[in-house]
């Protein structure tokens, strides 16, 4: 296996692993936010804002992996 082949296998795997982690994190965050919204519908707006910000932070990790892959390509 030469370096290019190794890269071709590993670079997509990098994004896959990052996406797996942020998928788990996002599931937990959004799930909890939904539960909280169902319990307190009047606070839905505030919870949604917080959820979107948290989701952005979590999702950013995958984006970093993606950017790194694009740069290393």
């Amino acid at each position: 296996m030469d370096a290019e082949t190794a890269k071709g296998f590993l670079l997509p795997m990098t994004v896959a692993v990052a996406a797996l982690g942020s998928g788990l994190g996002l599931g937990k965050a959004v799930g909890s936010a939904m539960e909280a919204m169902a319990r307190q519908p009047e606070a839905a707006g505030k919870i949604q804002t917080g959820m979107i910000i948290g989701a952005a932070f979590i999702e950013a990790l995958t984006i970093y992996a993606l950017v790194a892959v694009i740069l290393l390509k």
Binding site: T49, I52, I53, A56, A60, L66, V67, K73
Partner: protein
């Protein structure tokens, strides 16, 4: 199983060969068991690239891991190909800036028209713009509190500008400037400078430095200042980087997805020699809705995070006094 697959691929490649598409010569030379699939795939890929290459440049190289990312063509690029010359070269070299300038000219134009014709009984345009402004006002004041009214123009403009730039790339022949790092980094640096300026203005220079040092009160906290100060400075510097990389990654990823699927749609019909009015299948169509969603969410996230940075910088003072 593998033999059948390779036979099938071979027949496709042969039919492609008959239809006047260049296929690499390496295919028929060494048909060993192990090499055949790789060769077939390579020639399939070559054919697809030759077909798609005119529309989506770089789509083929992306699979090889060389060259630049695939990108749908825009009008300036078309002009460069049709009328080669110094002017079109120059315009294409600046296409990121030109498309963002088109966006702000468009937005200014609409706002000026809506402002000129304002009345107590709002028309359609005035209603739309009032609704946008009110929604953004409520969103930002909801996060920053009543004292955040002064940041509404800046943050609201950020949202409208970024959203329009993101969506602009979905129009045929247009280009989203936010899919290049220089635009997003410029926006993020604007936010960074404004946040630091507001921090100094609200807390004073001494308060600002104390804030960076972790606002020490007790002896233990003063001892931790050498640890806290670099940590906070790095944290501040990381904010514009993460802001810009997030927007850039999302939008360029989305555009790349559209470009790759447009190329696939063209490659998928290449072997039947399609008529001119149907160069390929619109495989990218379902992803346009996904792109609309990402465009909106990313513009919202940029605005929300900027307002959070403002609130982190300025709310600090209220705890002190």
């Amino acid at each position: 199983m593998i033999e059948k697959l390779s036979l099938f691929l071979n027949s496709i490649v042969q039919s492609m060969n008959e239809h006047a598409t260049p296929v690499s010569d390496t295919l028929m030379e060494h048909n060993q068991h192990s090499g055949i699939i790789a060769d077939t795939l390579k020639s399939l890929h070559d054919t697809a690239h030759a077909a798609a290459g005119h529309v989506v440049h770089g789509a083929g190289e992306a699979a090889h891991g060389a060259g630049h990312a695939p990108e749908l063509p825009n009008w300036l690029e078309l002009a460069k190909i049709l009328f080669p010359g110094k002017l079109t070269d120059f315009l294409f070299a600046w296409h990121v800036v030109i498309f963002s300038a088109i966006v702000w000219l468009l937005l200014s134009f609409f706002c000026i028209i809506a402002y000129r014709k304002r009345s107590i009984y709002p028309g359609k345009l005035q209603n739309l713009i009032e609704w946008i402004v009110e929604t953004l006002y409520n969103l930002i004041v909801g996060i920053l509190g009543p004292s955040g009214v002064r940041y509404v123009p800046f943050l609201g403009t950020l949202f409208v500008y970024i959203f329009t730039m993101n969506v602009f790339g979905l129009f045929p022949g247009m280009f989203s400037s936010t899919s290049k790092l220089n635009t997003t980094l410029a926006l993020a640096i604007c936010v960074f400078c404004y946040v630091q300026f507001e921090g100094i203005r609200a807390n004073g220079l001494k308060g600002y430095i104390l804030h960076l040092a972790g606002s020490p009160k007790s002896v233990v906290e003063w001892c931790l200042v050498p640890l806290n100060l670099p940590l906070h400075i790095i944290g501040e510097l990381a904010k514009p980087i993460s802001l810009s990389l997030r927007l850039f990654g999302n939008i360029s990823g989305e555009d790349m997805l559209l470009a790759i699927f447009a190329g696939l749609g063209i490659a998928s019909l290449a072997f039947i020699n399609p008529p001119n009015w149907l160069p390929g299948l619109p495989l990218q169509f379902p992803f346009i809705f996904l792109a609309l969603l990402t465009s909106f969410v990313q513009a919202l996230v940029f605005t929300l995070l900027s307002s959070i940075y403002f609130s982190l910088m300025t709310h600090h003072e209220e705890e002190h006094h």
